[in-house]
Each structure stands twice: as structure tokens, then as C-alpha cells.
């Protein structure tokens, strides 16, 4: 028992933190913030998962992660005029996956041997290019986007009403978490990806092509980004160019760092943690006198605190 605890110490710490946070919120009566934070945080978690996957496989912070989502949104918007919603949704995911594939083939692969900072700037370039094309195609005003489920506020949890769209988000996330967990522990492909991220040379030695895995990882990450976008954004009702980069990418980054940058469950938990902290903080009285949006300020303070006290991330392994 003790050895298991020690082995999973980081996970225990993370879970304990989440539980403590939930209890504090319930006691202080911040139920609304809790529920909203959980669902927004799920979207952060999805994005953060893609970030961690790519960080593990290519060793780079992927700035294009948000734009995989925005591009999927544009595809959904355009396809929705011509085909049924669910087909359009599928099409949007295909487009996101394709963008991930092309990014890996055209940008990442030629820079395989390049310094990581160059690769980082390259992914920022992909994001900027996508944003530029979006502004060109769409004009920068917001466009309305349809929801998968029209019903608003059907279910009540802890006295807070939740739209069907948000329920769908949470359900998708739970299913996806289980599927991904199985994928990375039970299938050959999943194990190969984990292997390639931990020991690329050894993985090559046992006959696995690390480069081929790299394109698969990018497609998978792009799919996750696209999925996060097409689920969370329609809940707000409208979208515009660069929306996923400006609103979701940075919280997702922070979530990934909270999770230690290498842990997949850590990215999930980090996302939920960031979402809850953000939504609670926006209504906290101590920040009343500060002008502007408080959510980023709170994240900044949390980030500084985490990095000072536990630089390897809440759920990361000790160095």
C-alpha cells in the first residue's frame, strides 16, 4: 500500500488538490462557478491533452493547437449549410485532422533536426498563417454557429442549470478519457507512441518508425483540438477568427504545465483545475478593485506559485 502510494504520489497530490478545491467551493457556496469551471475546464483539458501529446513526440510547445480548433469551427460553419449537422461535425474533425497531418508533413518533418526554438517559432507561424487566412476569408466579425443540442438549461446539477451542449462536452470528455487511457495502455500503436516519446532511439531499435508515429500523433492532437472547439464554442453561440488561440490556448498551456507537461491524466486534471480556479476568481471579492478581466491575473498568480513551489508541475515526476 505504501509503495503504491509512493509510486503514484503525484497523482494522489493532484487528486487531493481537486477534491480539496471542490469541497472548499461547495462549503463556500460557489456552486455555479464550480459547474461552469468544470465544463470550461474540460475543453482546456482536451486542448492540453493535444499539447502534451505533441510535446512528448516532437518536444515542442505547439502554438497551432488552438488554430486546429478554429479551422474545424470554420469547416463546421461552412458545411452546416449543405449537409446534416452531424455529418458537418464529422467533416470538421476530418479537416482538423488533415491540418494536423499537413502541418507535420510540411513544417515539422523538415525541421526534425532543427533546434527546438526554431520549431516553436514554426508552429507559431502555422497559427499566424491560419489566423491570417481566417481573417481574409471571414472578415473579423463574429459569426453565429449552431449547437448540436438546442435545449438550454434542461438538467440541474447542484442548483445550477446546465445546457445540453455542456453536458455533451462533459460526457465526451469522460468517454474520451477512458478511450485514450485504453489506447495508450492496451494497443500496440498507443504503446509505441509512449515509447517513442520516452526513448526515441530504443523505439527505433525495436523496429518502430518514430517519424511515422510523429504524423499520427499530430493528427491525433489536431483531432482533440478540433473536438474541443466544435463542442465548447457553439455553447457561446458565435465565433470569429483566432477564437481558440485567444481564449483557450493559454489556459490550456497552463493546464499542461500544471500537469507537468508529460502526464496525460495530469493535463486533464490541470485543465479542470484551471477552469474552476478561473471561474471562481472572476467573481471573488478581493479582485474587485483591479481593472479588466481578472481570470488571467489569477492564472498568472497560480502559475507563479506552482512554479516556485513545485517547478515540475503538480502531477509531474520529481526531477
Amino acid at each position: 500500500m505504501e509503495s503504491i502510494l509512493r509510486q503514484h504520489r503525484s497523482k494522489v497530490i493532484g487528486l487531493a488538490l481537486v477534491v480539496a478545491l471542490v469541497v472548499v467551493l461547495l462549503v463556500t457556496g460557489q456552486k455555479g462557478a464550480l459547474v461552469i469551471g468544470l465544463s470550461t475546464g474540460s475543453a482546456y483539458g482536451l486542448l492540453a491533452l493535444g499539447l502534451v501529446l505533441i510535446y512528448k513526440s516532437s518536444g515542442v510547445f505547439n502554438f497551432a493547437q488552438g488554430e486546429f480548433g478554429t479551422v474545424a469551427l470554420f469547416a463546421l460553419y461552412l458545411l452546416d449549410f449543405h449537409v446534416p449537422y452531424w455529418v458537418a461535425l464529422l467533416g470538421a474533425l476530418v479537416v482538423a485532422g488533415l491540418m494536423g497531418f499537413l502541418t507535420e508533413r510540411i513544417i515539422v518533418r523538415p525541421l526534425f533536426e532543427a533546434p527546438r526554438v526554431i520549431l516553436l517559432v514554426a508552429t507559431a507561424g502555422v497559427a499566424l498563417l491560419a489566423i491570417g487566412v481566417e481573417i481574409w476569408l471571414a472578415t473579423s466579425t463574429g459569426k453565429p454557429i449552431a449547437k448540436a443540442f438546442a435545449t438550454v438549461d434542461r438538467v440541474t446539477v447542484l442548483g445550477v442549470q446546465i445546457s445540453d451542449q455542456r453536458l455533451w462536452l462533459i460526457a465526451t470528455l469522460v468517454v474520451l478519457a477512458v478511450l485514450l487511457g485504453l489506447f495508450f495502455t492496451r494497443t500496440n500503436l498507443g504503446l509505441a507512441i509512449i515509447g517513442a516519446s520516452q526513448e526515441p532511439t530504443a523505439t527505433e531499435l525495436v523496429g518502430i518508425s518514430v517519424r511515422r508515429l510523429s504524423s499520427f500523433t499530430w493528427v491525433l492532437a489536431a483531432l482533440l483540438g478540433g473536438l474541443a472547439a466544435v463542442i465548447i464554442i457553439p455553447d457561446g453561440g458565435s465565433f470569429g477568427p483566432a477564437i481558440m488561440t485567444t481564449q483557450y490556448l493559454i489556459p490550456a498551456f497552463i493546464a499542461a504545465v500544471l500537469g507537468g507537461m508529460t502526464s496525460l491524466p495530469g493535463a486533464f486534471v490541470g485543465g479542470v483545475l484551471v477552469g474552476v480556479v478561473q471561474s471562481v476568481a472572476t467573481s471573488a471579492p478581493i479582485f474587485e478593485d483591479i481593472p479588466g478581466t481578472k481570470s488571467t491575473l489569477v492564472l498568472f498568480v497560480v502559475l507563479l506559485g506552482v512554479l516556485l513551489v513545485r517547478p515540475q508541475g503538480l502531477l509531474g515526476k520529481g526531477s
Binding site: I118, V121, A124, G125, A127, W136, L308
Partner: protein
């Protein structure tokens, strides 16, 4: 641990060849090129209308921003993703000092540089043990905090309306102000050059190559990183102040994350650790909308590309800039500076060598980003 380029390149050479001396014709040719560059920078703007001068001055200021970012990115291998906040705070500080406090332009510029260095000192002091990825993240979120909170402070930024920033008395025309900014650029170049020739500069380079090895040679890794961060902050604050008084007005909404990305892009496309390349890269990205408008026939060509709306000079850079960046990265990872290196070496009185692209190991290999 001396890792200047001269030292490392001298290792493989023995016996040292006689120093190359250009022939009189060679000197004359170099002189002509130098004169051409001087004409383009110093004389040509005199014949342009005032509106163009504002663009040129912005280009000069972006050159300073690129040099500022290069101190972190090129010399110590740390990525600042919040540089727009440093430049922006410099701009607001100077505008505030001049407009609200009634101080002179020079006090404003000094205050901007001091604030730029000061915030780097505080931020770096808090996160001293943090390098690499985490440094990037801290600066990233600091940039967002600046955008969403600091730049929303009414007194500092004049609210949504923005803060006026008049030009100084002696330099109150666009032309004079352009030369003032050129002088500041020259000053920054000089400081940067002398710094990299000093012990502190060499220890920065050693740090980038390998922090652990640098530490065993007695370099204080934290202090050196902090030093570079502060220098970068001072340059950024200065550039911000100059940009503010060039536009005669600072608005809170331009200092967003996209600008930070543009800063990084122009620094990398310009070429890390190449002063000429950095200045050219900064100027190029600042001038892109202007160039698109001025190149004859180019706007018509852009308008012919089918799309829901025309590629106007405002939108075109958003598409063309990143395309150029990706091309640069895949084809010429050393940036403009590396491509120009044979020419700049030749201009400096050395032999023309087309294959002289600088040393491979000068590239960053150990940034965990």
C-alpha cells in the same frame, strides 16, 4: 570559457594565414556599397512625404525590438512570449510622464527604459530558478496580465481613448524624429556590440551552449540570466517609448499576443545573433504593409486572387508574413542574417566567401521549448 565566434573559428586554422587585404578596387567597391546603404538610410527619407517617415521610424523602432528580443532568444536561449508587454509598458510610461506629469521627452524615455528594466528585474527575480519552457510560460501569462489588467488602468493609459504622446520640441517633425530614432538604434547596436565583447556577454553565450558547463566555469547562471533579461527589458522599454512618440498616441488594444508573435517571428527571420539581420528583419516586418502598397502592380495582383474579400494592404501581410516565415524556417533556418553573412563579412574588409554561413554550433541546441 570564451566562446566568441573568432575564438572558435581560429581553432581549426594552423598556421594562421596572412590577413587578407582587399585591393584598392576592392576597397572602392566596398565604399560604393557603403555609400549606397548610407544614402538609403540617411538621405533617401528626406525626399519622402511625412506619412512615409512614420513608417520608416516604426521600422527603426522594430529593429530595436528585434535586438531586445535577440538578447534573450539569441544570447541566452530563453523565449519571451510577453515582449509586447515590455514594449507597451515602455510606450505608456513615456506617454504618461510627458502628458500627465508634464515632464520632458528625455525624462519619459529614461523612465520607460528604467521601467522596462525594472519589470524584467521583478519578474526575473520572482522566477529566477525558472528557465526554458517555464520562462516562456511566465512571460506569456505576464503579457496577458499586462494586456488585460495593467493596460486597463485609467490613469496610465487614458482609458479606451489612449494616451497622447507628443514629439519632443527639438525633434517635432517626422524627419528629425526619424534621425533621433536612428541615433537610438545606433546606441543600442553599440551597447549590444560592446556587451558581447565583454566578460558578461561571453558568459551569456556559454550559458546558452550549456548551463551546467557554464556553472562549472564559475558563471553565476541565475545572475547572468537575470542580467540578460534586464538588458532586454531596457531595450524593449526604450523601443516602446520611441514608438509611442512616433505615433504621437498610444492605444491600449495594439499590445496583444499577436504582436508578441510578430516580434518573435521578425527576430527569427532576421537571424539570431546577427545584428544586421535583426535590424533588417524588424524593419522588413514593420514595413510590410507599406511595401505592399508601394510596389507597383502588387496590389492589383493581390486583388486578382479569388476570395470572399480582396487582399488589401491591411490583410495581405497577415497571410504573406507567416508564409515568408515558414519558408525562411524550412529553407534557411539561420534567417536573413545568415544569408547576408558573406556580404556583411565582405563589406567589413574580408574576402568574399559564398559558403561562409557562420558556425553551425552557434545555433541554439539546448533550449527546451
Amino acid at each position: 570559457m570564451t566562446v566568441t565566434r573568432e575564438d572558435t573559428s581560429a581553432v581549426g586554422r594552423k598556421p594562421p594565414p596572412a590577413r587578407f587585404r582587399p585591393s584598392p578596387i576592392g576597397w572602392a567597391l566596398r565604399g560604393v556599397i557603403w555609400l549606397g546603404v548610407a544614402y538609403l538610410v540617411l538621405v533617401f527619407p528626406l525626399s519622402r512625404p511625412a506619412g512615409d517617415l512614420v513608417s520608416y521610424t516604426t521600422a527603426v523602432c522594430y529593429g530595436i525590438v528585434a535586438l531586445s528580443l535577440n538578447v534573450l532568444l539569441g544570447y541566452v536561449g530563453q523565449i519571451s512570449l510577453g515582449h509586447q508587454a515590455f514594449v507597451g509598458l515602455g510606450a505608456f510610461t513615456s506617454a504618461y510622464m510627458v502628458t500627465e506629469q508634464g515632464q520632458s521627452f528625455w525624462v519619459g524615455v529614461l523612465a520607460a527604459a528604467a521601467i522596462g528594466g525594472g519589470q524584467a528585474l521583478v519578474l526575473g527575480g520572482v522566477s529566477l530558478r525558472i528557465r526554458g519552457l517555464y520562462f516562456a510560460l511566465i512571460t506569456l501569462s505576464y503579457g496577458l496580465v499586462a494586456e488585460q489588467n495593467i493596460f486597463q488602468i485609467q490613469e496610465l493609459t487614458g482609458g479606451g481613448a489612449g494616451q497622447p504622446a507628443p514629439k519632443p520640441e527639438l525633434f517635432n517633425t517626422e524627419w528629425r524624429y526619424y534621425y533621433l530614432c536612428l541615433a537610438f538604434l545606433a546606441l543600442v547596436l553599440l551597447v549590444d556590440w560592446r556587451m558581447m565583447r565583454s566578460k558578461a556577454g561571453r558568459s551569456l553565450l556559454a550559458l546558452r551552449e550549456n548551463p551546467r558547463v557554464a556553472a562549472t566555469f564559475g558563471i553565476n547562471v541565475r545572475m547572468a540570466t537575470l542580467f540578460a533579461f534586464v538588458v532586454s527589458g531596457v531595450f524593449a522599454g526604450l523601443a516602446g517609448a520611441l514608438i509611442a512618440h512616433n505615433d504621437t498616441f498610444v492605444s491600449p488594444d495594439v499590445w496583444n499576443f499577436n504582436l508578441a508573435l510578430v516580434f518573435i517571428i521578425m527576430t527569427v527571420v532576421g537571424g539570431l545573433r546577427s545584428r544586421a539581420g535583426l535590424v533588417i528583419g524588424g524593419a522588413f516586418f514593420a514595413l510590410m504593409p507599406y511595401l505592399i502598397e508601394k510596389i507597383p502592380g502588387f496590389t492589383d495582383l493581390l486583388a486578382k486572387i479569388p476570395g470572399p474579400q480582396d487582399l488589401t494592404p491591411e490583410i495581405a501581410p497577415l497571410v504573406i508574413g507567416p508564409l515568408l516565415l515558414l519558408l525562411t524556417l524550412i529553407q534557411f533556418p539561420g534567417g536573413i542574417g545568415q544569408q547576408l553573412r558573406p556580404i556583411t563579412r565582405w563589406l567589413g574588409g574580408r574576402k568574399f566567401d559564398l559558403h561562409d554561413r557562420g558556425l553551425k554550433e552557434v545555433q541554439i541546441t539546448d533550449v527546451r521549448a
